[in-house]
Amino acid sequence: MPDQKLVNVTIEGRPVSVPEGTTILEAAKTAGVLIPHYCYHPGLKIAGVCRMCLVEVEKMPKLAPSCATTVAEGQVVNVYSQKALDARKGVLELLLINHPLDCPICDQAGECELQDYTFQEGRADSRYREPKRFNPAEDFGGDVLYVTNRCILCTRCVRYMGDVAGDRALCVEERGDRAKIGIAPDHDLSHAWAANVVDLCPVGALVSKDFLNKARAWELDRTASVCPNCSQGCNITLETRDGALMRMKPRSNSEVNHFYLCDEGRLNYQWVDRGDRLEAPMVAGQAVSWEAALTAAGAALTTGARHVVASPSLSNEALWLLKQAAGVGTFRVAQGTEAPLPGVTDLARRADRAPNATGAELLGFTRAANPLSGAGDVVVIAGDDCAGLDTAALASAKHVIFLGTAAPAALPVGAIVLPIANFAEEEGTFTNLRGRVQRYLQARPAPGFARAGWLAMAGLASAAGKGGAYTSAAAVFAAMAKAESAFAGMSYDTVGLKGQTAPGARVNA
């Protein structure tokens, strides 16, 4: 933004230049200082109710709430002056008056801003000797449980539901120390995007019923990934413990999902840990080595007309190598209802309930209602679980090569089965419906002998004599970017962890 006027301020002795109109709190972030705050959230309207972000601004008579004060030329801000520290200590003491000391059983412990800031700046003990206020926990519907006692009334959830989700379900009810978050009569948090209040809540007042008492925040390993549940491609963090997926959280990306993730996206993850996974390559019902299975598959590919059934859940890399090995084919996309988030431009739970339909189309695969119809001599099924498909065509095929995570019941006994990893177990990229190519990383090992999608496809391609000697997903992507004009000039470096729009998609759109 070249026409924007820059303002020079000094925050904690560090000079920074920020665009005019920036708040002190945001300016401090660029200076590398995180001013403690509760009610402020970059995705929400500024409320200025928690008084936690008070800082001392020189030449101002009183302490200023940094979330609601914009910077001015030559301003000198002291975040850690004694006056500011004392004020914030007082705010924390008042917040803790009725806050229960139940951190040991609170799901937020370890990622709680009240815990963190109290540890940084709060008093070691409480001077409050009266009994604490007690209110029972309330079920807000959807995936949200409201633990009233822990609430610090920052009103992030109220503002989110009203301004962003467009459903004024929440409000602050009662007054004074009886105040709590109330839910409007005949309302509940079953809004398609309501569970974001759990992430927005800085304390453990709004907790996920799905995650309740499941794991401690510090035990979780976090991996950057992309939500596989629809074509929006929301950036997510996979949180695993001992290789088991515990929850999915949104990862902020201002180009895609901002700070949000829909309920269906975040709760539809149990299939990742399903127990009936394929673990070893099989030929005619016998477990064999990968070499034997790939040799058999390579030989089978040359025996007649090929019919390829792809899946929009495969990565761009796997689909491209599938195209190399067996040629393009058709795929089907599960459909659902679209549910937009009104407060954010171009963000919705999309009707296409698969992450990579656009990527498959850019690579030349086409949609079909029944991708198995008109099957040839050699049927290659990659990633499709065949559920609900008319599988009569499979019986007449000479060879069936199946690449997938779990074996469909309809698979003929003589099929060549190659087990592949799901999105949590491999590295790759998805292309979302706007053509944005986004990387996802491996969160845990694949079960048994299952291989990453791109590695299995590369083996298939080289067995069919179509090249395919690749050692990493990055190398496959680089080769794909060279060969496919839709992805020209891209690499894992340029895509990064926030994604990049594919040139081919820009032309089509």
Binding site: C103, P104, I105, A109, L212, N213, K214, R216, W218
Partner: protein, 165 residues
Amino acid sequence: MPIQTRVVDRPTTETSYVRATFQGLALTFKHLVDPHKVTVQYPEEKWDIGPRWRGTHRMLTTEDGKAKCVACGLCPTVCPANCIKLVPGVDEQGNRYPAVFDIDEFRCIFCGYCQEVCPEEAIHLGRHYENAEYDRKDFVYDLKRLTSQTHPVCELWDPADPKGE
């Protein structure tokens, strides 16, 4: 040039064993006449161990016999030997409780961090030293065993002088 050596006469008084033998026998006979007790007649007599002795664990219980533990996960986190296995669960009243709480006493280094970190004062080290078992697997104490033990527990610090001044 040869190495210069010097022959020294061996001292007779200090090397003679005769004197030392009699000194030793004198001590033996002294104990025979005036026995002051050193040997503890274990197991009839038990050794008196200090209040800060750190032995095998015990889980304290509430009045209704349930473990005090709320499965907060701090002890497995702090444990330097990684010997505590904890799986949280939710009981009928909706309270968090340890569905699995196993301590591998072979791995334990008896540092006492678990007792120190416990916010509920549930897990304690015991003032206890008789740990023999017939089977190695019995050294993994489960919740049932931890709660049913009754031996006294360790005082990690003197309540009158918590900072050890």
